[in-house]
Amino acid sequence: MSGAPDVSNPDPQADAYVGLGDWAPETLGAGRVIPVVSAPDPVLSRPGEEVDPTADETVQLAADLIATMRVSPGCVGLAAPQVGVSAQLFAVDVTGHPKTVTGHGVFVLCNARVVEATRWKAGREGCMSVPDLTGDVKRASRLVVEGALPGSGETVRLVTDGFEARALQHEIDHCAGLLFLDRVAGAHAIYQRKVYL
């Protein structure tokens, strides 16, 4: 390996980016739809265990998360604790959402962590596991996240922004046993989800 850094590149993140490559959700096989649990279920408040991204059970759970996310209207992300499994694994898909700027399509990350978080902005969030409430939460609108892909176990380093960045932070929080309720901005930042009857 040549150790010479690429000094001609002014953006240190640009060459750090490792995208999804040829990974595709189809490589996971068929997923099952699993019931989603709601707060105050204690599994949602427990930090998830790290997973082995190449293990069969991880690949199956990844497929199940995608299958469950797809049948849930408006769902842009789903983490393992939300289906009752205390593990650091989540699926995200912000494709087609009106707030999406950058999007990486459908993907699952294992053992993900935030590498860099900047440009914090407040925004309204909901959660399938807190179906009756929404809340204002400050999140980084520019984000670098590192995690492993289920199956290959390959490490990716995604650079994203806006709505996908918000979704990733929300899901990484789930894997750490946190809900958006733990991050609301103030006493008047929680709202009853409006349903017109």
Partner: protein
């Protein structure tokens, strides 16, 4: 000038705010700070007014309460003026399975640390109970308080977080 503390609460319907505010405006009672919100189908107003005597306002609001659907109270209060913040602003969020005494236990821990709650709201959604409180803490006490809150929360089987409030100055 009299400073008045007024509360109005009753079954929600369109026009409560307009009805009450109209009475106050007619009497020359100037609405200063207030909160007006719907709580589980009841509409609740708490307001501070400056203007006429309490009895006069009470009499003027009486017709609104005549059908038994609204309860209004008026009392004169001593103007305290603006109070300076007592400490550093924090947000405490608590959530978990609903049970008796969550607010009592958690706010007692805050009070014992000299924390002053400046705003608090609670929501019951199904079996999920959520408390969010804004609190001013004596400088340098937040870390130790966080530990005591976590102990109290564990005793109640609920989750708690204590974070610095971040005002956005634009």
């Amino acid at each position: 000038m009299n400073e008045l503390a007024i509360t109005v609460i009753g079954r929600d319907r369109p026009g409560i705010v307009a009805d009450v505010a109209e009475v106050l405006a007619r009497l020359g009672a100037n609405l200063t700070d207030s909160t007006m919100t719907r709580l589980r189908g009841h509409f609740a107003m708490t307001l501070i007014c400056v203007g006429p005597a309490a009895a006069e306002v009470e009499t003027a609001l009486a017709p609104l309460a005549a059908d038994g659907q609204l309860l209004a109270t008026v009392r004169a209060v001593t103007p305290d003026g603006e109070t300076a913040p007592a400490g550093e602003p924090y947000v405490m969020a608590v959530h978990g399975a609903d049970r008796m005494g969550i607010v009592a236990a958690m706010t007692r821990v805050l009070a014992e640390a000299g924390g002053n709650v400046t705003d608090l709201s609670t929501r019951l959604a199904g079996t999920l109970y959520v408390v969010v409180a804004e609190v001013e803490l004596p400088p340098g006490t937040a870390d130790a308080l966080g530990g005591r809150l976590a102990e109290a929360a564990a005793g109640l089987g609920v989750e708690v977080t204590l974070r610095p409030a971040e005002p956005d100055l634009l």
